[in-house]
Symmetry: C2
């Protein structure tokens, strides 16, 4: 049984944020990805909609510069053949304000070529919404 694409994405995403190592994440993001993190854009300019891999990697870089993940719990999860949806609870630090933040984030992901994605891991669509 192959691993669901979500787990590989999740490990790579959190490593890219906390260790500023986006190398594992890069091959998992589709060139034409639709990406959106809905949240207070005035507070965090890296929120909002993006299109394409380069723009998303820039978002990841900005998140890594601004936030550190201390803990996350998946409170609800659904896995489909090429989809995943999770309700997550995060404990974060905002680095330059030295401030702890606790928030929920709902994550919806669409994977392309789900079987191959355990090897190649391309992904097509990603949408999240969070509130502190």
């Amino acid at each position: 049984m192959t691993e669901h694409s979500l787990w590989r994405f999740s490990r790579a995403f959190h490593r890219a944020i906390n260790e500023r190592q986006p190398e594992d994440l890069e091959p998992l993001i589709d060139e034409e990805v639709d990406w959106a993190i809905h949240g207070p854009v005035d507070m965090f300019p890296f929120l909002g909609a993006r299109r394409g891999k380069a723009a998303v990697l820039e978002v990841i870089r900005e998140i890594a510069e601004n936030l550190r993940v201390h803990r996350f719990d998946r409170e609800s999860i659904m896995l489909g053949v090429d989809q995943a949806a999770s309700m997550m609870r995060y404990s974060l630090s905002v680095l330059d304000a030295n401030r702890a933040v606790s928030l929920r984030l709902a994550h919806f992901a669409q994977f392309r070529d789900a079987v191959r994605s355990t090897c190649r891991g391309s992904r097509r669509r990603h949408q999240s919404s969070f509130r502190a």
Copy 2:
């Protein structure tokens, strides 16, 4: 092909809110439901966690007294045999403030006895998170 439990729940939920007709919704909520709408409880006291059908019906009543749904779009959706997850965008009015609100709500639902639920429609778990 039977209809997924989510659609019946969604119709009954919105009818309960907008027409103050909870009759169709009542049989769809499990006696032991775990219910949570994560959001600004200080602004809307009917948000937060509840346990059991009576408490949830009271929440629905309070929502119906305070909000009116003008429009909703499902931006992402996942349907499983006995689960559903959606990212939704709502246009609402807050009735006593006569104020329009636009918000996203991520909805995760767990249905019990999914096949029967097209007839009986009991449901076990429900979690939502929204931000304006």
